[in-house]
Chain length 255, copies 2
Amino acid sequence: MSEKPNDAAATDTVTAAMLAIGDELLSGRTKDRNIGHLADMMTAAGIDLKEVRIVSDDHDAIVEAVRALSKRYTYLFTSGGIGPTHDDITADAIADAVGRECTHDPAAMALLADHYAGRGLEFTEARQRMARMPIGAAHIGNPVSKAPGFIVDNIHVMAGVPSVFQAMLDNVMPTLKTGAKIHSLSVACPYGEGDIGGPLAAIQKAHSNVVIGSYPRYDGKRFSTEIVARSRDLQAAQAAQDAIAAMIDAIVPND
Amino acid sequence: MSEKPNDAAATDTVTAAMLAIGDELLSGRTKDRNIGHLADMMTAAGIDLKEVRIVSDDHDAIVEAVRALSKRYTYLFTSGGIGPTHDDITADAIADAVGRECTHDPAAMALLADHYAGRGLEFTEARQRMARMPIGAAHIGNPVSKAPGFIVDNIHVMAGVPSVFQAMLDNVMPTLKTGAKIHSLSVACPYGEGDIGGPLAAIQKAHSNVVIGSYPRYDGKRFSTEIVARSRDLQAAQAAQDAIAAMIDAIVPND
């Protein structure tokens, strides 16, 4: 059973989408770790993550997804494609999607020039690519490797390397509108979904302001279920949780 | 360095998309493991996985994504939402998306009735829900827990529990058209992308029938890079790999 504190001040629904960019995610070479992390952070902030897409390093695919997702949700978060190599095309695609020119941002150029000078490294043309962003974009600080992410309109553009993505997201979180926290109360059920599906549907019907989810698990021999009651109204979630627990207690095992 | 055998018989490009369905993936409660598995299986079969989406257990969101993805790619694979509980709405949404009625499939009903009778379990209304699919759909065998997935048009509908998803996909793979295998040759590079971005872009330009990807890694202290040359033409991939290795050898470390 888990329970999250309510944020009485925030009542609006705030929504988000994520776009993970990179051929390596679709070839299987890299297993994404950023989607699950963003999901956890959004839930903790009371922001509804509504949709995730993964596309390849393809200009048109990125532009189309950015336009669709940024229009539909409060926030869009992207990961990947903002490094110094030729296959890092996210900054150009985002600029295209929002109708702005993509240029070497003066503040980012100064920041990176300083950074590489301090380390005695040449500020190569490749490294200068990391200063490119749509004109007027705001920076997202990068404590790991300095090259900033950026924010344009409601789009937050971050790196794909998980440690950098996480550091950038930590900098972004305090700037976001947060929604009313969702209370998520779970009940462990030793029976499979086939045993509880009927009564659980009746409980869902009786608790209309609670979303009840049922998550099967299979341990190689038999199924069990985790049942989760989610609501912005704590008392409503607790009432549904009580009803679920009573339903499970009433089941007579078949074997 | 990895290398995959060529499949000389297959030359067409075969594409795929995946749609993972479930509130639990977007809340962070469950970390998806099916996308990476499908990506690996597609790459091994020479099928280009082009796009992945994750949506919640929302009828309209599923219908919209199914229509968009099934129209655009050779195959669409879905995971999740075909269990016995009220929040399993994938079968209805798929039926709606393809314009067919969703009914209790007679063969699936017989299969499941037998299965539960053999185990001395009641074939509840909830369990009967698992026999629902669009009229005329073909079954995908489920050796783990019997309830079949299904295929309608180019859409392959599978379970979300990873062991069941994997077993279903094993049954689907032999039925798919496969593309010419992609040779993926990688070179480990001890330098960060900033050191190699310039010469690597030149190599990409000189090897136009090879897609060169650059994947940064950060170990907490410094960046290194894995560079991957991908092509359906083995000799072309090898030529690019040789050029990348020579480029790395020529770099004089800065520190």
